[in-house]
Symmetry: C2
């Protein structure tokens, strides 16, 4: 599709930033080849992963930050040469609507704040990238999707694995039925978190193993099967009950899919584990690790080694999402994908709490 | 221990065959260096695995058979040069008591017949080796253990993996805490069974995935942790409901252990899978396959390759068990080990049926 046609299509669809920014901006936006990204929340993931990755992207760049810490603001501004006007705090954040430097707001806050900042960013006319887990409840996800739809901005969820080439390969195995139908998935993701009073130990803020790491096995079970679960059974356990009073340390969950495929999943903040095994009709394939910053690798029963390498997972994800915005094409992982996971997380929490199998509506 | 001392110890303990066979046999038995084994039930496992393996053993040999098929009797007698008097059918089987050629009766019948033939063999004064699953219920296992105790014969269960060196290695990892405490086990064993009306499709005969293959993951979870489960959750599923009307095609089960270790287990007669993955405090180790006639292999997070090879698993198992009888030392896998599994299988069946977590007594 030519730039001209893309442009017309954007007009026809009343696409996002164009509408909210008015005509002068249309001309400006049209010329943009890279999107300006503002990171909201400058914790570990922004600092150590996203900001460095943004230095490696082709289609976007770090344009601004939103932080409650003047000290962090000063440090980041110096390190990344950010313009004064692109530094926001949480009270003046909504003024970002008037800042043409910022095309995308990337929400990297604790999950309990995702809804609020996604809605505010959308209302400011900015595209939104939101980290996983998308939010705490399906109702919050609904609000986020609606706010982005109403404001005609795109909403991407930061499931970087779906952008990763070895992961794409196993998704293709299912699509092409390379090894026949998927029968069983065994998948686990966890790490040992020595912290005792971080928000990750508090479910009300989006902590606990299931919210924090469990969405990886869950999302994997969904992308490996290409199906939505019809029933869920889950068990929550802890070996540190004095710490895990407000969130799950370890959750096992089992998913049933319409085709009869099953998933045996585990997640934990108490142990390190990272593997995805797929048993299919005519073979198997696996990724181990399947979710790791430092690279994904695996193999398949036909002898294939799954070892495609990319320089940086977060850069790939952000470039894919930036490209989709620039070209106005569908996102690989839109808000709906987060919504579908949180729907299952709600069922998992319910199953663990009530000790019973939960049927999905 | 010298032969003399072993002999005295056997007398002191009133060991098995000695008591039932009377004095002339004592002298005979003492001189034995190899035990005569009679296979009961000449199906696939006896024909293709055990009989060939017995040709490779050092401490035992194929001495007799028990079969209801005169045709099979004739074929086996010819193939293995068996003496006429060592061929039994199910009606004259009890006369085996008077046959000094037979030291061990190996029960390789459908599991619903294990109790009867184990008790009859024990009452005939013979040591018993019994295939897995040990029996259908704990009550049957009780009868079997009691009959062997009363008759002072040994009872071994045919869990060959516990004799396999790579499996021994991972058991040692736990004993030595090489990688710290075991935290999570993910283990699956299954194959695709194309049959539709074999006893393996009938739980009343000991069929279904859980009885047939599920005892491997279950036994593995127990030997990997060295603990007994305190709670069980299980789900039974099928993608061939027209066939699996009387047994489970696929069962997922989750075990909780006193230390907090968890096991995520799967078994199936509908799909091929075979792996054992152990997450420990300070690393991981895995066997893949962990249960396969053709060899076990794996690796550990410290770079160790687990690839010890043995010529034949069944020969190793039978030699170990024969050695324990000849030396009157403890069996590696006594009846109690089968009992402990069947206790959990009962809980798994109950959990799947009632859709709830079952606490072990």
């Amino acid at each position: 599709m030519s730039h001209r046609r893309t442009f017309l299509k954007q007009i026809a669809l009343g696409s996002a930033a164009l509408v909210t920014s008015g005509f002068p901006n249309i001309l400006f936006k049209k010329k943009k080849e890279r999107l300006g990204v503002a990171l909201v929340g400058l914790g570990y993931y922004s600092t150590d992963l996203l900001a460095p990755a943004l230095q490696l992207t082709q289609h976007c760049y770090l344009a601004g930050i939103v932080t409650g810490s003047p000290e962090k603001a000063a440090r980041w501004q110096k390190q990344y040469g950010l313009r004064d006007k692109n530094i926001y705090d949480y009270s003046n954040f909504d003024r970002i609507a008037d800042n043409p430097d910022i095309d995308v707001v990337y929400v990297v806050l604790p999950p309990s704040m995702h809804r609020e900042y996604t809605v505010r960013a959308a209302n400011a006319g900015k595209h939104v990238w939101c980290e996983k887990p998308m939010a705490l409840t399906v109702a919050e996800c609904d609000d986020m999707i609606e706010a982005c739809a109403v404001n005609r901005v795109k909403l991407a969820i930061g499931y970087r694995m779906q952008h990763e080439p070895n992961t794409r390969q196993i998704i293709d195995y299912r699509r092409n039925q390379t090894f026949g139908k998927v029968k069983l998935i065994s998948v686990a993701a966890g790490y040992f978190d020595p912290r005792t009073d971080h928000w990750k130990q508090n479910r009300a803020m989006g902590g606990g193993a299931m919210f924090d790491m469990g969405v990886y096995p869950l999302n994997a079970a969904r992308y490996v099967t290409g199906e939505e679960p019809i029933a869920v059974v889950a068990q929550e356990k802890t070996t540190r009950p004095e710490i895990y009073t407000r969130a799950d340390e370890t959750t096992l969950f089992q998913l049933e899919f319409p085709s009869g495929a099953l998933a045996n999943c585990a997640t934990s903040l108490g142990m390190s584990m990272n593997y995805l095994y797929v048993t299919a009709e005519r073979g198997w394939y696996k990724l181990e690790p399947f979710q790791s910053y430092s690279g994904i690798q695996g193999s398949a029963s036909d002898g294939t080694l799954l070892n495609q390498k990319i320089p940086n997972q977060q850069a790939r994800q952000m470039d894919d999402d930036a490209r989709a915005i620039l070209d106005d094409t569908p996102l690989l992982v839109p808000g709906e994908e987060g919504w579908l996971d949180i729907r299952v997380v709600e069922a998992i929490h319910l199953s663990a709490k009530e000790g019973r199998r939960v049927l999905m509506d």
